[in-house]
Amino acid sequence: MPWFSKSKSAEAQKKKPAKEDIWVKCESCKAHVFKEDWYNSMSVCPKCGYHGKLTAYERIGQILDVDTFKEMFETITPNDPLAFSYSKGTYKDKIVEARQKTGLNESVVCGTGEIFTIPVSIAVMDFRFFGGSLGSATGEKILLAANYAYDHKIPYIIFSSSGGARMHEGILSLMQMAKTCAGIARLREKKIPYISVLTDPTTGGVSASYAMVGDVNIAEPGALIGFAGRRVIEQTIKQKLPENFQTSEYYQEHGFIDMIVERKLLKEALKNVLSYNNQ
């Protein structure tokens, strides 16, 4: 690397913090968007239409009627069942870090609320907490929220945003796939609607459990959805992958997503679907 480009990038790095105060950089097209514009468009990039990741509470604010959300099971939190440590430190320390960074106790926020006055049980994943990964406490909360829907005969909605199972919890994280699906399966007994909303990203163990078995599967546009990781597939088949591989659009084309709904229309779409529940 020549000396001049080096100094240039160092200078750019110095300026960065100031820039980020008023700008949001789109993860997809890398455009810098005025923070205010970004939030006014519900964190959807005005330039390319990319649906940016939301925090769980931002999502809840967009979906539920004002002041109807009552959080449940919020004290449930990981406890490092394997005493897991690796090169970058211990899981225990990472949990503390994640909790401090996000103010959350787990990668999912659960509770009840109303969508245009329809009462629902809701679970919203938050990608900031361990990449939205599915740990024991995540699974427990998702099951308890399903059980709440079961006990109170109200629809259940899950918003997924997750890289998959949390390997720091080993086999217990894998078993959360079975555990959450057992909760979903039971809803059928009482004909309770279960809607799955897949947002960027929904991959691995989460796509292979509750996210894919909604009565209706809804995805946000352009979300990464898939089971196996891109790199793993490329290494296995030694071929280039199709252009829109593992996107919402790809999975709709192949029959796994009922509808792709823009964020600004999502609340309306949920109401419309639930209005057909003729119990």
């Binding site: 394997l82 390997m167 086999i171 909760g183 399966a185 039971r186 894919m212 089971f227 296995t236 796994f256």
Partner: protein, 316 residues
């Protein structure tokens, strides 16, 4: 490859010595005492080594090319196997097979990952890595088992579900998710046994049992040690460390409340005695089936729900 791993060398040397002594003195009397003594020591050494295998050594055992595969078990302990083919939607996966089978006097629906015994078989069978049509065939057979009132027995031995474009576009994620949901409320008993590798979602896709058994040296993990090492350690050569950290051995799974019982393997591993391994599996599976088949459907489903509800460890 040699029949012995490096960590088995002391055993290999002793066995060689015993063989040698025996061949020098075929009429036995010459070195009788020495041979008996050595054999005793050899067994002690074996017990010492095989009961203290590290998780990474167990991975080697679980993947041993001579370890019995589903076809061996079908030949050794099942009778009257009628293979049923196809998912009725797309095709017939050779990586995951199933059909009617009889174990002792017990008629069952047998489903399992179908690893091959050589490279040609494995190419056809994708090394026991199933595609969506495999999981959907398994589900079709489970529903048939409900109709015919047969318990389901699942043999798990896979690196994982097949990672390929075709598997993605036909929805491996959905196929596995559907199985997890359907198995939770299946009206007939399900006994699952991990005989070799329990590889993540690909294993769990037929793994939601009323009882989860593991062969003594089998492993069951959310991710392969190599995969974990390359993500968390940024270096696949840390696989042995990852194997340890992930707690993937049968005793660990008992401790974590996931596995219910360990099926003992012959001294030195299942690959040293297929017959004995198979008979042990038969004994344990039949014992569990006897209990489960006398349990009502509603009780089975309730117990299964409670079993999986209790999985996981967290703080409140």
């Amino acid at each position: 490859m040699s029949d012995y791993f490096d960590f088995e060398k002391p055993i290999a040397e002793m066995e060689k010595m015993i063989e040698k002594l025996k061949s020098i003195a075929p009429e036995k009397n010459h070195f009788g005492d020495e041979i008996a003594d050595l054999e005793k020591k050899c067994i002690a050494q074996k017990k010492e080594i095989y009961s203290n295998l590290t998780p990474w050594q167990k991975v080697q055992f679980a993947r041993h090319p001579k370890r019995p595969v589903l076809r061996d078990y079908i030949n050794l302990i099942f009778t009257n196997f009628i293979e049923l083919h196809g998912d009725r939607c797309f095709g017939d996966d050779q990586g995951l097979i199933g059909g009617f089978a009889t174990l002792g006097k017990q008629k069952v629906m047998l489903i399992g990952h179908n690893k091959g015994k050589n490279i040609d078989e494995n190419i056809i069978r994708n090394f026991g890595q199933s595609k969506p049509e495999g999981y959907r065939k398994a589900m079709r057979l489970m529903h048939l088992a409900e109709k015919y009132n047969l318990p389901v027995v699942c043999f798990i031995d896979t690196q994982g579900a097949y990672p390929g474009i075709d598997a993605e576009e036909r929805g491996n994620a959905e196929a596995i998710a559907r199985n997890l949901t359907e198995m939770a409320s299946l009206t007939v008993p399900i006994v699952t046994i991990v005989t070799g590798e329990g590889g993540s979602g690909g294993a769990l896709g037929i793994g939601v049992g009323d009882v989860i058994l593991m062969l003594e040296h089998a492993i069951y993990s959310v991710i392969s040690p190599e995969g974990c090492a390359s993500i968390l350690y940024r270096d696949a050569s840390f696989s042995n460390k990852a194997a340890e950290a992930l707690k993937i051995t049968a005793p660990s799974l008992i401790e974590l409340g996931v596995a219910d019982e360990i099926v003992p393997e012959p001294l030195g591993g299942a690959h040293r005695n297929h017959e004995q391994t198979a008979q042990e599996i038969k004994r344990v599976v039949l014992a569990h089936l006897a209990k489960l088949t006398s349990t009502s459907s509603s009780r089975l489903i309730k117990n299964r729900f409670e079993k999986y509800s209790a999985m996981g460890k967290f703080a409140k």
